[in-house]
């Protein structure tokens, strides 16, 4: 009975989410449609980060690098070649995935603070390459005026395009977290020694998980390049790698959709606050300190504790 009620409730929630993601663009202006698109892209980026953080228990300070690699791959392919658009959306996943695989090979050998620092160092490496390689990446100017199919120039259709891709990505990630692979990752998070003793290749699993997170970060970057029509090296900087971390912490790392909730809060706050003040870091910094000190389960975690104190 309890189980049935829960399934029913989660179906209600799912229908609500689907309705909320499909209907509003038809009634709101193009500005808010763009805000929604941004929420989706960054939300997916944050959920991909949470594969490393929530599922594997490590903190990566370098997810911005894979995001930027995806964004630049799409941007460069769209501006410098005339390859088919779908190819320009798939290639970044491959590029980010391969880079995450190579960097990850070294990163997953470490844990804790060393994991964080090595991921940061690799990301800064990517950042400095993008920043200095003027002839290829445009250096600190980035790439502006990225062409995209005529339909996607319309924010309305671009939103649905993003919605379809992000939903597909979220479904894939959901199945990953619920698969035996996902439970192996949880076991590694809780006790990697014991997981190793039962015959699991801990490093290999961590590496695969890191590469998957990198691939989805790359996909996010690629969607961003199409949505924003421009990319800049700042996407790879460690200050940008903080964004998915913030979203995850705000939303709640122990829930699959927590980072998406974080993305909604973060992005809406950004939209409401920035017209009044340019001191966005001050506000988000204060919020982060506040959440760390008083709501360490994130918004979703705190709410659940309020509703169902167990």
């Amino acid at each position: 009975m309890e189980d049935k009620a829960r399934t029913l409730r989660s179906r209600w929630w799912l229908s609500l989410i689907i309705a909320l993601s499909i209907v509003p663009p038809m009634v709101i202006g193009s500005f808010w449609i763009q805000v929604l698109t941004e929420i989706l892209i960054l939300g997916m980026f944050a959920i991909s980060f949470n594969l490393i953080f929530g599922l594997m228990g490590q903190i990566s300070f370098g997810q911005g690098a894979y995001y930027a690699l995806g964004a630049y791959t799409t941007a460069l392919m769209l501006t410098k070649t005339s390859m088919a658009f779908p190819l320009c959306m798939v290639a970044p996943i491959v590029v980010s995935g391969i880079c995450a695989l190579i960097f990850g090979f070294f990163i997953v050998r470490l844990t804790g603070i060393y994991f964080a620092i090595l991921s940061l160092a690799f990301a800064q490496l990517v950042h400095s390459v993008i920043f200095q390689w003027y002839d290829f990446t445009g250096g600190d100017n980035g790439i502006q005026g990225i062409p995209s199919p005529i339909l996607l120039k319309n924010p309305f259709w671009n939103y649905y395009f993003t919605l379809v891709i992000v939903s597909a990505a979220l479904i894939v990630m959901w199945f990953i977290t619920k698969s035996s692979f996902g439970y192996t990752m949880r076991a590694i998070r809780d006790n990697s020694n014991r997981t190793g003793f039962v015959g699991v290749n801990v490093r290999k699993h961590m590496l695969i998980n890191f590469a998957i997170a990198g691939m989805f970060a790359g996909l996010g970057g690629s969607l961003w390049a199409v949505f924003n029509h421009s990319v800049s090296p700042d996407l790879a900087n460690w200050t940008h790698s903080g964004v998915p971390i913030f979203m995850t912490i705000i939303g709640g790392p122990s829930y699959f959709l927590g980072p998406l909730v974080g993305s909604i809060i973060y992005t809406l706050l950004f939209v409401f606050v920035t017209p009044f003040t340019e001191y966005w870091p001050l506000i988000i910094g204060t919020l982060i300190i506040f959440i760390v000190l008083f709501f360490s389960g994130g918004i979703v975690g705190t709410l659940e504790l309020k509703i169902r104190p167990e």
């Binding site: 470490l110 090595l118 460690w238 913030f246 870091p281 910094g285 360490s296």
Partner: protein
């Protein structure tokens, strides 16, 4: 390339490394004693530099202003550091690594904007006092007298820290608390006061470095986000939690930078990251760290 050029580059690398050492020695102290990686440490350094500029403006004495402003700014920063320790950092000592990282990360963002609010984004310049604005010749290589002062200060701080931690009661207590927090608490040593002391000392040294940095180059908004990453590289190369490692790491990074600027200016930061990555891969505990910590 002549011998004097090489010596010149070495000296410039050392003086750059000394500033890095002053910042990363504090980072190392906080890490080894409280086990917290302080993302906001370079922000304290930059805040120290801006405060030095402000005091220097108020005093407005080209020859003596700087010598008074640096201690004033450092002491002010020490007070601010104490407030931050008591109100914020103290609350997360027992928390997981992520929350500690995020707290200091949030702090770095806040301090960055406080700087922007107070001083704006325009570059600030503190000219060198006349006494030390000249050039000296060391083995035929010209070295600005001021850089020599920075080097001497770095050496003095290194010696001072060694004396403090190995020759005084406070230092013994700090080292004991690293060894066993429970034991030292049980012996009646107020552990929170020790932690506050270490934090304040680290912020003081960072602000001192900021003050010394002010006349070296213009003070630029956003400098801290590059420097903190360089300091992490220093800690990785030297080994987390080792003061000697911080010194060697800083000098290594300073020298790599100085020579890279000469031959491949675009690759300077790139090379530092490469060295850091190699160290992390082959010897994650760094040159002077202990393998246990990994």
């Amino acid at each position: 390339m002549t011998a004097s050029q090489i010596i010149g580059q070495i000296l410039s690398g050392i003086s750059r490394g000394m500033i890095l050492f002053l910042i990363s020695s504090g980072l190392t102290l906080i890490f080894s004693v409280m086990n917290i990686l302080n993302f906001a440490h370079a922000s304290f350094w930059l805040l120290g530099a801006y405060l030095t500029w402000t005091f220097w403006q108020i005093l407005y004495s080209p020859n003596f202003g700087l010598w008074i402003s640096i201690p004033l700014a450092s002491l002010t920063m020490a007070a601010i550091g104490w407030i931050i320790e008591v109100w914020l950092v103290r609350r997360v000592y027992e928390r997981p690594l992520t929350e500690q990282l995020l707290l200091t990360y949030g702090l770095a963002l806040v301090i960055g904007d406080v700087i922007k609010l107070t001083w704006g984004v325009a570059d600030r310049i503190v000219p060198k006092p006349k006494v030390v604005s000249g050039l000296m010749s060391i083995f035929g290589a010209p070295l600005p007298t001021y850089n020599l002062m920075v080097i001497i200060l770095g050496v003095l701080v290194a010696l001072g820290l060694w004396w403090l931690f190995y020759k005084t009661m406070f230092g013994r207590k700090v080292r004991a608390s690293v060894f066993s927090r429970e034991m030292i608490s049980a012996l009646g040593v107020p552990i929170h006061r020790i932690y506050a002391g270490v934090f304040v000392l680290s912020v003081f040294i960072a602000a001192l470095a900021g003050g010394m940095q002010a006349p070296l180059s213009s003070i630029t908004y956003g400098m801290d986000s590059t420097v903190i990453v360089e300091c992490f590289c220093v800690m990785v190369i030297g080994g987390f939690g080792s003061l000697l490692g911080a010194l060697v790491g800083s000098l290594t990074v300073g020298l790599i930078y100085a020579f890279a600027i000469m031959f491949v200016p675009r690759m300077a930061l790139f090379l530092i990251f490469i060295v850091t990555i190699i160290i992390l891969i082959v010897r994650p505990w760094g040159l002077f760290g202990t393998p246990m910590r990994v």
